[in-house]
């Protein structure tokens, strides 16, 4: 008997007798002999809890986490401090172990938390309707594309080169299945330069701040998209939205984004959550669960999953999306985190990052052989261009316990020696000074000597 099952040998005999068969084997009589597995799976014999713990600890020890180095990695996920109360609440069995709230009478806690989450996302984005979460950031961009496709049946997406490379790739993956075209709008001095928009544009998609950290002018982009008769979609980093003009104020129709920075771990990329908010007009085209307020038969306030006729379990092939299981627990962490920050705290936190980021950017771009890739306003991330091979510079910084950031070359070959640097509130001035020293020394050591061919 495994440690997670509870049927004893005596139980088994009794249960088989009740069923009226003489062996477990008989229960599988419907499986044709030709497809049976005639050997045990090749997977090992199982281990004790303690042995499994030690094995997974050893695997963890072979990773260099944000615990082990001073890390300036960002690019879509960020090493923010997650307050203790988040863990303490989301580890409660009542939040951790239920299924999707199909029975609202016994799921009021989860449903109300979804409603609160939707309110918080609506406040951040300035848009009236948020769903209860989608998988994560990049696929949320493709999900926004699906809404645009259904809204106007047009043939083309215009996506900024400032949108996360993974999100652009997700959009391309889906556009192929929809026989739609994806056109990339270039960046000019760090921000999106829209091409002439034709009347076959379904949606214009930008990111705020964009992948290189620059703050985009969403208002101008939304206006251009609407003049062409398309939707305006913004993939947003949620924390900077505490300071920036909101997608709603800027005329954006759909705001999506990666929610990891709101109280979720890095977890090597997941699970986190994606958020999806939109205008009232698009409410019935949205993907995913939405919690709504209502009353029970006694007239007491309560919450339910609502507008379910959009969803796959009701509408099947006519559904607005195929999404079923989303990221409820991660979204719960998000709303707890936002409540912890609060109305004033969220601004204070982002202003702190803004100041430290400005300090880091100023000090780093003052170094010999280090240049700003653009000089647009930024919030907690910016891009540099190095006058030295970036991978070798990173390797040298690492020797000093500093991970200086994400090299841009794979995603932006035009910035072969580009480096993306993120400054969360966990990176202190002392950390930034350490980065300045490490990068300065590394670039000096790796910089090509003028007049000498290396």
């Amino acid at each position: 008997m495994t440690r997670y099952t509870s049927v004893t040998d005596a139980d088994r005999s009794e249960m088989l007798a009740t069923i009226g068969v003489s062996s477990i084997e008989e229960l599988f009589a419907d499986i044709p002999a030709g497809v049976r597995l005639s050997r045990p799976l090749s997977l090992g014999q199982g281990s004790s809890e303690q042995e499994v713990f030690e094995e997974f600890r050893a695997l963890a020890a072979r990773n260099t986490s944000a615990e082990d180095e001073v890390s300036f990695l960002g690019g879509g996920m960020y090493d923010h401090y997650v307050p203790a109360l988040v863990d303490s609440i989301i580890l409660r069995s009542e939040f951790l172990t239920p299924y999707t709230p199909y029975q609202p009478e016994i799921s009021q806690g989860g449903l109300q938390a979804m409603f609160e989450y939707q309110t918080a996302i609506s406040e951040l984005t300035g848009l009236p309707v948020s769903n209860a979460s989608v998988y994560e950031g990049p696929s949320a961009v493709a999900a926004a594309g699906y809404v645009a496709k259904h809204t106007n049946r047009r043939k083309r997406f215009v996506v900024s080169r400032g949108v996360h490379p993974h999100a652009r790739e997700c959009l391309r993956t889906m556009a192929g299945a929809w026989d739609m075209e994806v056109v990339e709008a270039p960046l000019n001095q760090g921000t999106t330069e829209l091409p002439e928009l034709t009347d076959d544009v379904s949606a214009v998609i930008v990111q705020q701040p964009n992948f290189l950290g620059a703050v985009e002018d969403l208002e101008t982009i939304a206006k251009a998209a609407h003049e062409a008769g398309g939707l305006a979609v913004a993939a947003c980093d949620p924390l900077p939205l505490a300071l920036l003009k909101t997608p709603g104020e800027s005329g954006i129709d759909v705001a999506v984004g990666e929610g990891q920075s709101l109280g979720n771990r890095l977890d090597f990329g997941g699970p986190s959550f994606g958020f999806f908010a939109a205008t009232e007009a698009l409410m019935r085209r949205m993907p995913g669960r939405i919690a709504g307020e209502t009353k029970d038969v006694d007239g007491k306030r309560g919450f339910v999953l609502t507008l379910q006729t959009r969803e796959q379990h009701i509408r099947r092939e006519k559904a607005t999306s195929n999404i079923c299981t989303a990221q409820a627990l991660n979204a719960l962490a998000g709303v707890i985190y936002l409540s912890w920050l609060g109305r004033r705290g969220v601004v204070e936190l982002v202003e702190l990052m803004l100041q430290r980021t400005a300090y880091a950017r100023e000090r780093l771009t003052a170094l010999d052989g280090v240049f700003g890739l653009h000089d647009r306003p930024v919030v907690r991330e910016f891009a540099l261009e190095l006058d030295a091979p970036v991978q070798r510079v990173i390797a040298r910084c690492r020797e000093h316990g500093v991970n200086p950031g994400y090299p841009l070359g794979r995603d932006y070959p035009e910035h072969e020696n580009g480096l993306l640097v993120a400054i969360t509130e966990r990176r202190t001035r002392a950390d930034i000074d350490r980065l300045v020293d490490a990068l300065s020394a590394a670039v000096a050591a790796e910089k090509p000597v003028v007049g000498v061919t290396r």
């Binding site: 069923i19 997977l43 989860g110 998988y135 920036l244 038969v297 079923c324 702190l352």
Partner: protein, 499 residues
């Protein structure tokens, strides 16, 4: 216990200007004027109206909410097709180790060897369980795994110069199947079930033509029945050049007993939040890895975790992310997938091993058949007969139609009355081909005593309904909320807190 005057106040309604839970770290750099860093025209008019609450209030608020939730750690949760098995506590501990939890997704693979090796080992294990050699862990949930399957089919067939237009799904399929087909750019064609609850082979033959790209099949089906004609289904589908897709929602019945790959499936998705114990979290996170055959491999999503053998003797192999996959369908999501879920599911596989996984499936099937037999013995079959008189696999489907006719309570009423007995109801009104359906999946982690109790409770409720159907029709009575006005909620949606 002192009760709050209104236990449905939201965190926003508990807000009071001046309260706070967050104290910011010190500003340790020279402060520059805000306007200089971010000019006023780039900034929002007012701060987001997040709640102003102290830490004790937040804790108390969410603890209070938690008490208005039913959960698997508290009671029986026989929700069909959802595999609500125990979620081992060890998994939360190891997933929280900083080497896993604080590992950045863009970390250089040299500094993430533990994570990449774990992913590679999970790929190997899932491939072995599925009987298919290649695995991508990327899809975020079952529905995204299905989408991957449809896109892989398209890529494979287009590479062969074929452009097919239709995908077949049985009339018992989960809603995600047809929704996925549409999203993947195909037309859905429904295949009937026969009188035994199997795919109707004649209907399948009639509909399987050269325009068909794929058949998506759940096996055991959502009726909890193994497709006895699976070998013939395979011949028909492959006979017209279509792919065979396995929806892994019901994999919990067959681990180590038979394998989708050996049945001829080309593509399989797993729900790690079902068979492999990732906690459901009230609606996610999950993960939906896929396993595929040799001919589908070139099209798998990017990047793939690969193992490079060491060139020198005695050196460790190197694990990396292979982005160079020219025929790939591309990405379905960011980064490498839901790694935290992989940690938990791989721990489960390590804990159980081959014998344990087989035992889990055997016990899941034993428990389901036992519960069905116990319900028979309670004499409830007159009112809630099993939809198909066969041995079931890990779940079974009852029809509440005679109960509705004769006792004047619907499946919904039975479900709601179960809530008063501290039991989560089965899945109701699905699959669609069974009238007043109740789909019961007890899972292997439940005791015989729990199953006995469930059978008795169902009998009790039916007895009560014979005496007075009104009791069930207005249930539940003891839950944090009573029946809610869902129609009203959809008519006039209130989807956020008004301020």
């Amino acid at each position: 216990m002192i009760r709050e005057a209104d236990d449905t106040l939201t965190i926003f309604e508990r807000s009071k200007p001046g309260r706070r839970a967050f104290s910011p770290p010190e500003l340790d750099v020279p402060e520059r004027p805000l306007d200089e860093l971010l000019s006023p025209e780039l900034r929002r008019a007012e701060a987001p109206r997040l709640p102003e609450v102290s830490e004790p209030e937040i804790v108390r608020h969410y603890n209070r909410l938690s008490k208005r939730n039913f959960d698997l750690d508290t009671g029986f949760y026989p929700l069909g097709s959802c595999t609500m098995k125990h979620n081992p506590k060890l998994h939360e501990r190891i997933a929280a180790l900083p080497g896993h939890a604080r590992l950045h997704p863009l970390q250089d693979p040299h500094q993430a060897q533990g994570a990449l090796e774990l992913m590679w080992r999970l790929q190997e294990a899932l491939g072995e369980i599925a009987g298919l050699p290649h695995v991508s862990l990327q899809p975020s949930a079952g529905s995204q795994g299905e989408l991957a399957g449809v896109l892989l089919t398209r890529a494979y067939q287009e590479d062969r110069g074929e452009r097919r237009t239709k995908v077949l799904t049985p009339d018992t399929a989960h809603g995600t199947n047809p929704a996925t087909v549409t999203m993947g750019g195909y037309e859905v064609v429904k295949v009937r079930s026969d009188t035994e609850g199997n795919v109707d082979l004649d209907d399948l033959r009639a509909k399987a033509d050269e325009d068909v790209a794929c058949l998506m099949l759940t096996n055991p089906s959502t009726l909890g029945l193994f497709e006895t004609g699976i070998e013939e289904i395979e011949r028909i589908v492959h006979g017209v050049g279509a792919t065979l897709y396995y929806d892994g929602a019901n994999l919990n019945a067959i681990m180590g007993i038979c394998r989708p790959g050996d049945m001829g499936f080309d593509i399989v998705h797993f729900n790690l939040h079902k068979s492999f114990t990732q906690p459901h979290g009230g609606g996610g996170p999950g993960a939906g890895p896929i396993a595929v055959s040799e001919r589908i491999e070139p099209y798998l999503p990017r990047p793939q975790v690969v193992r490079r053998e060491a060139s020198t003797n005695g050196a460790e192999p190197f694990y990396e992310l292979d982005h160079d996959r020219p025929k790939s369908i591309g990405r379905l999501r960011g980064f490498q997938g839901n790694y935290g879920v992989f940690v938990r599911s791989y721990a489960y596989i390590c804990s159980l091993g081959a014998p344990g996984l087989r035992e889990a499936s055997e016990t899941a099937v034993l428990n389901a058949n036992y519960l069905l037999a116990r319900l028979r013995r309670e004499g409830v079959m007159e009112y809630v007969p099993v939809a198909y008189e066969r041995l079931c696999m890990h779940e079974f489907v009852l029809s509440g139609e005679p109960m509705r006719r004769e006792l004047h309570i619907k499946t919904l009423d039975l479900a709601k009355r179960l809530l008063d007995h501290g039991v989560h109801p089965p899945t109701v009104y699905f699959p669609l081909i069974v009238e007043e359906a109740l789909m019961v999946e007890p899972t292997e982690t439940e005791t015989k005593e729990t199953l006995d109790r469930f059978a008795e409770v169902v009998a009790e409720i039916l007895k009560e309904a014979r005496e007075d159907p009104e009791v069930a029709r207005h249930a539940p009575y003891t839950t944090p909320a009573r029946r809610l006005d869902e129609a009203g909620a959809a008519r006039r949606p209130i989807v956020r807190q008004a301020m």
